[in-house]
């Protein structure tokens, strides 16, 4: 019984949150990695793209709810998601047309595109705040939990509870599906392969009759879909706030890079690496050990390797160690 309790504690505070957070990062990282893989730059505006898509979805959700349409136990936002994706598509395609295209045709160095994307980030930052403001917005409705901590305790009679949120489940599933689809798309379909060809050698792609404009458009549309989905799922699980979405950028980049830039599989792996290194290394084992060890050995202290103050430091340290052994990420990423 105690062992089960220990496992439940671990699941509740480490495994479930880690999985969910990892999947959230992974979804964001998929978008980043795709842009890097095909268009060959690190897109700093990704966090704000996510915020934009989410903002539009929130507006749609509010309209739906006002009209009395809901999605049963699932969050209404999922119905409004296509609207958000469509709007984000327009936004990123417009950005590409007005901004990025110029540098692409000029064959500007990747770092210029990175800086340009920072400019775009600043602008999107303003737009998002203009549309929806700066406050914290909670737009999750429907059934919040699949299992609540209390419900679990009552059902199992254990001392410890286990909570699983609906959004956590959805996020993990969506992330895995998105990764599989993207992997299949890039490696098996004609359009996908032409996208990889384009990213490899643009001139030669042209000579093979690949339409570069089309490749770029498809890339952005997929990115828009991924970014919006990621943003909405994250917002449903936690809450929406423009500033936080901007802050999400760093862990997302870390995930994409540690997994190997350009690799969908890597994005997923990277997301989980970052998430679990944040959650596990600073975990205090007191409670778990308290169940496992005999009474007299149960620890007084927290049994914590590092205080949570260092949670980012530790996750970055792990990232660096991974890179030292795998210099282009877990799944052999690209580098420009």
């Amino acid at each position: 019984m105690d062992v089960i309790n220990a496992l439940v504690v671990l699941a509740n505070f480490v495994i479930v949150p880690g999985l969910a957070y990892g999947a959230q990062l992974a979804l964001g990282a998929l978008g980043v990695t795709l842009i890097y893989g095909i268009l060959r730059f690190s897109n700093f505006a990704h966090g704000d793209t996510m915020a934009f898509g989410t903002a539009i979805t929130i507006i749609g959700t509010n309209a739906l709810i006002a009209a009395g349409i809901t999605f049963g136990p699932l969050p209404t936002a999922l119905i409004a998601l296509p609207l958000g994706i469509a709007a984000t598509c327009l936004l990123v395609l417009g950005t590409d047309w007005t901004v990025y295209k110029f540098y692409r045709t000029k064959k500007a160095a990747p770092v210029i595109l990175v800086i340009v994307s920072m400019g775009v980030m600043f602008i999107m930052n303003g737009i998002v705040r203009f549309i929806i403001g700066v406050g914290d917005i909670n737009f999750a409705d429907g059934e919040r939990f699949v299992v609540t901590a209390r419900g679990f305790r009552e059902a199992t009679g254990l001392a410890e509870g286990l909570a699983i949120r609906t959004t956590q489940v959805i996020t993990v599933i969506v992330a895995l599906i998105a990764m599989a689809l993207l992997f299949w798309f890039l490696n098996k379909t004609r359009t996908g392969k032409s996208m990889r060809a384009f990213s490899d050698n643009e001139d030669l792609a042209l000579l093979s009759g690949i339409n570069p404009d089309w490749v770029v458009k498809v890339t952005w549309m997929i990115v828009a879909a991924l970014a919006t989905t990621a943003g909405v799922l994250y917002g449903l699980d936690k809450s929406f706030k423009a500033f936080t979405y901007f802050q999400l950028l760093l862990p997302i980049f870390a995930a994409a890079i540690v997994g190997g830039l350009g690799s969908p599989l890597g994005a997923i792996a990277g997301g989980f690496v970052i998430a679990f290194s944040e959650v596990t290394v600073t975990y205090a084992w007191k409670r778990v050990l308290g169940y496992i060890l005999p009474e007299n050995l149960a620890p007084e202290a927290l049994v914590q390797l590092m205080s949570t103050d260092y949670k980012f430091a530790v996750s970055f340290a792990i990232l660096i160690v991974v890179l030292l052994f795998k210099p282009t990420g877990l799944f052999k990423g690209k580098s420009v």
Binding site: V9, N12, F13, V14, P17, G18, Y21, Q24, L25, R129, V134, G135, D136, N138, F145, T148, A149, R150, R153, G161, A163, R165, Y234, K238, S239, K241, F243, T244, Q247, L248, P251, A275, E278, V279, T282, Y283, A284, W285, K286, R287, V288, L302, Q304, S307, T308, D309, K311, F312
Partner: protein, 374 residues
């Protein structure tokens, strides 16, 4: 004559969601005074907003310098975060001899900063709050608590002050873990907090920032269900965001049973912002103090009125509440003393900071309400 007052707050950055109400509070007071036409023979008061960014000391300094030298403000209402407040004080206010009243910088370190008598705050130092929290917890019989704080001078200062006080009073702090604001996920912090255990979780953070994130995660995982909420955590958004989930949670934030706070809320409603938003009342008071001191000195020059801030804020004199600035100006014009209470029961002590009256709140039926004063 046109008197200009700088409103230097973090309109962008981590506090961007509470600063609009703070600025609105300050500007409400200015509008009130302008309308009365009683300051310095009918002077108008205009606000000049500048962005402190809350975190970028250099940008904050440049912005403050600009409002002083370019816009010609004669006093500053701000800044918000203790870090930039210190920088502006040293690099702009002191060199230019400009009075600065911060509504929200609560770091204990600012009490001893050199200020040439130019710096005041309508918020209490966090050293005081540590005592209040200890008292409230122990009165309710909690002796075993966990603490999480936002990792800045406010959070850390408050957490340290509280822990020292609480332990001296015989309580146990099982863990004191920092959380960073604006981050994506707080599972790690909640994991550690849950493992350490405790009857109550003291959340020394911001309601619009990581503080809420930690509460959300703690509630969802069932790690804690009772929280103590210090000043930065009390805000009406809690009602919408958590509602009944927080029933039983309690806390305290600056305020008195003086009718000022309630008055202010109604006034704010009329002006179209939320008067209960954190530090909005303090902002109104900071601006009001500046203008009353000007009236008292008969000059909008900082060098002249800096010595009158204490006079108008404290006894003796007729008590002044929000919305009564015209009355106060009349009294001052008539040569009488005023004792500005304002929206947050201002009472300046020692180095020019609020004495720290707190109102205790508790959640019941999904909303919090004031249950007493300390």
């Amino acid at each position: 004559q046109d008197v200009k007052i700088g409103v230097v707050l973090g309109f962008t950055g981590p506090l961007e969601s509470i600063t609009p109400a703070m600025a609105a509070g300050a500007e409400l007071a200015m509008a009130e005074v302008t309308e009365s036409g009683l300051l310095l023979d009918g002077a108008t008061v205009t606000s000049v907003r500048a962005d402190s960014t809350c975190i970028d000391a250099s940008a904050a300094t440049a912005a403050a310098e600009r409002v002083v030298t370019s816009d010609g403000v004669t006093a500053i209402m701000g800044a918000d975060c203790s870090g930039v407040t210190g920088a502006i004080l040293q690099n702009v206010a002191r060199p230019n001899g400009i009075v600065m009243i911060s509504p929200s910088a609560t770091s204990p370190g600012l009490s001893t900063a050199e200020d040439d008598g130019l710096f005041f705050r309508t918020a209490p130092s966090d050293a005081r709050q540590g005592v209040i929290i200890t008292n409230i917890l122990q009165d309710r019989g909690f002796n075993n608590v966990a603490v999480t704080y936002t990792n800045n001078d406010y959070g850390k200062g408050l957490a340290d002050a509280f822990q020292a006080e609480f332990e001296a009073a015989g309580g146990t702090v099982t863990i004191s873990a920092a959380h960073e604001d604006g981050k994506a996920d707080y599972s790690a912090e909640v994991g550690a907090l849950a493992s350490a255990g405790g009857d109550v979780l003291v959340v020394a953070g911001y309601v619009d920032q990581g503080g809420s994130g930690v509460i959300r995660a703690a509630l969802d995982t069932g790690a804690f269900d009772t929280f103590y909420l210090p000043d930065g955590m009390v805000g009406s958004v809690l009602n919408d965001r958590f509602g009944a989930e927080l029933n039983g949670t309690f806390g305290a934030y600056p305020g008195t049973d003086s009718p000022g706070a309630a008055l202010f809320v109604t006034m704010a409603e009329g002006a179209g912002f939320d008067g209960t938003s954190a530090f909005a009342p303090e902002s109104y008071d900071a601006a009001a103090l500046i203008m009353l001191a000007m009236a008292k000195a008969g000059s909008s020059n900082s060098a002249d009125f800096k010595d009158h801030v204490f006079d108008v804020a404290n006894e003796p004199g007729e008590v002044i509440y929000p919305g009564e600035l015209a009355k106060a100006l009349e009294l001052i014009a008539a040569g009488q003393d005023v004792n500005y209470e304002g929206a947050s029961a201002v009472e300046l002590i020692g180095p020019g900071e609020s004495a720290g009256n707190y109102q205790e709140i508790e959640f019941k039926d999904g909303v919090y309400s004031t249950i007493g004063f300390r």
